[in-house]
Amino acid sequence: EDKVVQSPLSLVVHEGDTVTLNCSYEVTNFRSLLWYKQEKKAPTFLFMLTSSGIEKKSGRLSSILDKKELFSILNITATQTGDSAVYLCAVEGPGSGGSYIPTFGRGTSLIVHP
C-alpha cells in the first residue's frame, strides 16, 4: 500500500523565520511528487517534482526531491502570516483504474505569528 508521511505535523514560527517541511514516501511505480497549500477547503497547487536534485522555486518557496532516499522538502524563507496553512504532500502512483492518482499525506499545519 502506498504511503506518504509528512513531518512535522504542526509548526509555529514567527514572521521572518525559515521553515523546512518534510515528506517521505513509499510508492510503487512513482510518477511524481506534488506539494499543495490548503488554507480553508480547497488545496492550491504549488509544485510538481519528477526528477531528483532539481530545485523548483516560486518566490520564497522552494522544493527538491530525492528519489534515492524517497523524500522531498519544502522550504519557505522569510515567512509571512499569509503562509499560515496546511501544506500537503502527495505522491502519484497507479490507481485501481489504471490512471495515475495521488496519495496524500496528512499535512503539516504551519502557523506564522506576526
Binding site: 480553508k40 477547503k41 480547497a42 492518482i101 496524500f104 496528512r106
Partner: protein, 114 residues
C-alpha cells in the same frame, strides 16, 4: 488552470438521508476526481469519474454508498447515500490539467450529518 465550482458549499443533514454534490468545470476535462477529507485527516480519493463510462472506485468505497454521475465533460455529481455521522467530512472534486497535468481542486462541500 481550470475554474471549478461546487454546490452546495456546506450542508447539515439528518442521518439516513442522501445529499447530492455538484461539480462544474469551466473547460472540458476527461477525468474528474472525488475526494473526502475527514476532520484532521488527509485527502482520500473516493473515485475517478470518466465521461461515458462507470466511475472507478478506490478500495473502501462502493457505488451504492457514493453513486457518481458524469453526464458530460464539464459536470459531475457525487451522492452520499444513507448518511451517518461518520460521513461528516469535506468533499472535494478535482480535475487534472495545466502544463504538468497537476490536479486542481474545487472549493469543497462541508457536510455535517447529525
Amino acid at each position: 488552470s481550470a475554474v471549478i465550482s461546487q454546490k452546495p458549499s456546506r450542508d447539515i443533514c439528518q442521518r439516513g438521508t442522501s445529499l447530492t454534490i455538484q461539480c462544474q468545470v469551466d473547460s472540458q476535462v476527461t477525468m474528474m476526481f472525488w475526494y473526502r477529507q475527514q476532520p484532521g485527516q488527509s485527502l482520500t480519493l473516493i473515485a475517478t469519474a470518466n465521461q461515458g463510462s462507470e466511475a472507478t472506485y478506490e478500495s473502501g468505497f462502493v457505488i451504492d454508498k457514493f453513486p457518481i454521475s458524469r453526464p458530460n465533460l464539464t459536470f459531475s455529481t457525487l451522492t452520499v447515500s444513507n448518511m451517518s455521522p461518520e460521513d461528516s467530512s469535506i468533499y472535494l472534486c478535482s480535475v487534472a490539467g495545466g502544463a504538468q497535468y497537476e490536479q486542481y481542486f474545487g472549493p469543497g462541500t462541508r457536510l455535517t450529518v447529525t
